[in-house]
């Protein structure tokens, strides 16, 4: 039975009537998606999923076409279309994840074992990029807390560090003379953030395994934080006592903090974060950005007493 959590709902006034969203663009995008899907995502396999209570309702889903062709994944290039154009070469099978640091059962875990240990849920989340655009994505995955629970987090652990694959032979920007950023990409969460029920390890979207451009085969999704926290193609998860370094923070500490919680009141130094453009909504797609991307009821308590303008 599907129990929808009312805290995840949006007012019905924001729900687009079906007659409007089934418009010409959606039909065209759908047809395009089928054609492109057959060519680009030959490896996409259907997933067995279960419904989740922790899903966002009342939002029109961003089309699969848009979700899989408008990406930031600098390992494959900095243009939005680069990841879908250059990501095909990435080998994602076999895949294993090293889990180490302050855990009871460190080791290299095969992706199949990580995925098979719990049901794969379907969760719709808003995704807010730090560049002030947003999508609504039906992810398939499982809570990070389930994996951490199985490997046994030691009491001294306070943070979780993540690392993306480093494989220049298959990731062109890692092989470039002028890489867009230092690799491998790294990210991190505080342990309570990592254990929050909303924090997801995604293995698929729209009921199929992740396309490479979206971070195959395993990526992080933290819906109340800017999208760059959602590290892709994860090969290492380490439990640490100290706050781990994070890629964008190292690159421009005054622009990207460790927390990176979605906050319309704290502007990026070079652009406002008060509004966002909803991808797929055509022209005049700006809407107000919500504190914690609308997930404050689930996560705001974790930051009680913190100055979020300082800890951006």
């Amino acid at each position: 039975m599907l129990i929808r959590d009312p805290r995840l709902d949006v007012p019905s006034s924001e729900i687009t009537p079906k007659s409007i969203w089934l418009n010409r663009r959606a039909l065209m995008a759908g047809v395009g998606g089928l054609i492109a899907g057959g060519l680009l995502d030959a490896a996409a396999a259907p997933l067995q999923t279960v419904k989740s209570d922790l899903t966002t309702t009342g939002e029109e889903l961003t089309s699969r076409e848009d979700i899989t062709t408008y990406n930031n994944f600098y390992e494959f290039g900095t243009d939005k279309s680069d990841p879908s154009e250059n990501g095909g070469s990435l080998t994602t099978s076999p895949w294993s994840v090293t889990i180490d640091g302050l855990v009871d059962k460190p080791g290299d875990y095969a992706l199949e074992d990580i995925m098979g240990a719990q049901p794969i849920e379907e969760r719709v989340y808003r995704m807010r990029c730090v560049e002030a655009w947003s999508m609504v994505i039906p992810w398939n995955g499982f809570p990070l807390s389930a994996l951490l629970g199985r490997v046994g987090v030691q009491p001294s652990a306070k943070y979780v560090a993540f690392q993306t694959l480093l494989r220049p032979s298959e990731m062109p920007d890692q092989d470039s003379s002028f890489p867009a950023m230092p690799y491998p990409y790294v990210e991190g969460l505080r342990l309570d953030e990592a254990m929050n029920p909303l924090t997801l390890l995604a293995v698929g979207l729209y009921g199929e395994t992740l396309p490479n451009q979206n971070g195959a085969p395993l990526r992080l999704v933290v819906p109340w934080k800017y999208g760059f926290k959602g590290i892709k193609s994860i090969v290492r998860i380490s439990l640490t006592e100290t706050q781990p370094p994070t890629s964008w923070n190292m690159l421009a500490p005054s622009e990207y903090g460790f927390y990176a919680n979605v906050n319309p009141k704290v502007d990026h130094p070079r652009w406002s974060q008060a509004t966002e453009r909803r991808i797929g909504a055509g022209f005049n797609a700006r809407r107000d950005t919500l504190p914690f991307n609308g997930y404050g009821d689930f996560v705001a308590a974790m930051y009680a007493g913190m100055d979020l303008a300082q800890n951006y």
Partner: protein
């Protein structure tokens, strides 16, 4: 006695052919990218984020046209190719394309919302810089007619139009700042602008010395 004349050089033949090209046709050619991208955007063929894609395409072509206008003089000085007759329409096409870039932002992106527009202009340095560059372009466009050149006098007119050097560099900085990281593409444009402006600051050569 045509036989007594030496055969025209390739450059002379090119100049002869160019004399027959009406300047308005060059204006139309320079406006083609803006027309194509606008058509694509309004027929929903610019991808997931059409407002942004159109904004960027118009901005990029506006900057290219600005730089193209600045290439005219060095081309004449270095290889003797004289395109001066087309410089005004290249500049006007740059102004039009950049104006459409601004319109795409104001209309398709922020929906003419004055509060958002003012916030963007005042709080986003790259938009402040871009807007400053556009404002500086306006007097150049207004004074581009023959009547205005006469009214100002050639000296004052040419002094005023040196503003385009600052505008081109501001355009390059605007492009560089809007990316999340320092990226090669905007760097190439900024370097080209600096090079073209720097060329003018070099000590003057004597006519014919090149």
């Amino acid at each position: 006695m045509p036989d007594a004349r030496p055969a025209p050089t390739a450059l002379q033949r090119l100049h002869g052919a160019l004399r027959r090209v009406p300047t308005w046709s060059v204006y139309l050619l320079c406006m083609a990218p803006a027309a194509i991208y606008t058509t694509l955007a309004f027929s929903d063929r610019l991808g997931a984020d059409p407002a942004r894609a159109l904004e960027h395409a118009l901005g990029l072509w506006g900057l290219r046209l600005l730089l193209a206008g600045l290439v005219v003089t060095p081309l004449r000085q270095i290889i003797g190719l004289n395109l001066i007759r087309f410089r005004r329409v290249i500049g006007l096409a740059a102004f039009t394309t950049i104006g459409l870039h601004l319109l795409a932002w104001a209309w398709l992106d922020v929906g003419f919302d004055p509060a958002t527009m003012w916030k963007d202009i005042s709080r986003r340095p790259y938009i402040t810089i871009g807007m400053a560059a556009f404002v500086l372009l306006i007097p150049l466009a207004i004074t581009s007619t023959n009547a205005m050149i006469r009214r100002l006098g050639p000296k004052a007119w040419s002094r005023l139009h040196k503003l385009v050097y600052a505008i081109a560099i501001l355009g390059g900085v605007h492009f560089l700042l809007l990316k999340k990281t320092i990226q090669p593409e905007p760097l190439v444009y900024l370097a080209t602008a600096v090079l073209l402006v720097g060329w003018r600051l070099l000590p003057r050569r004597r006519a014919g010395a090149a």
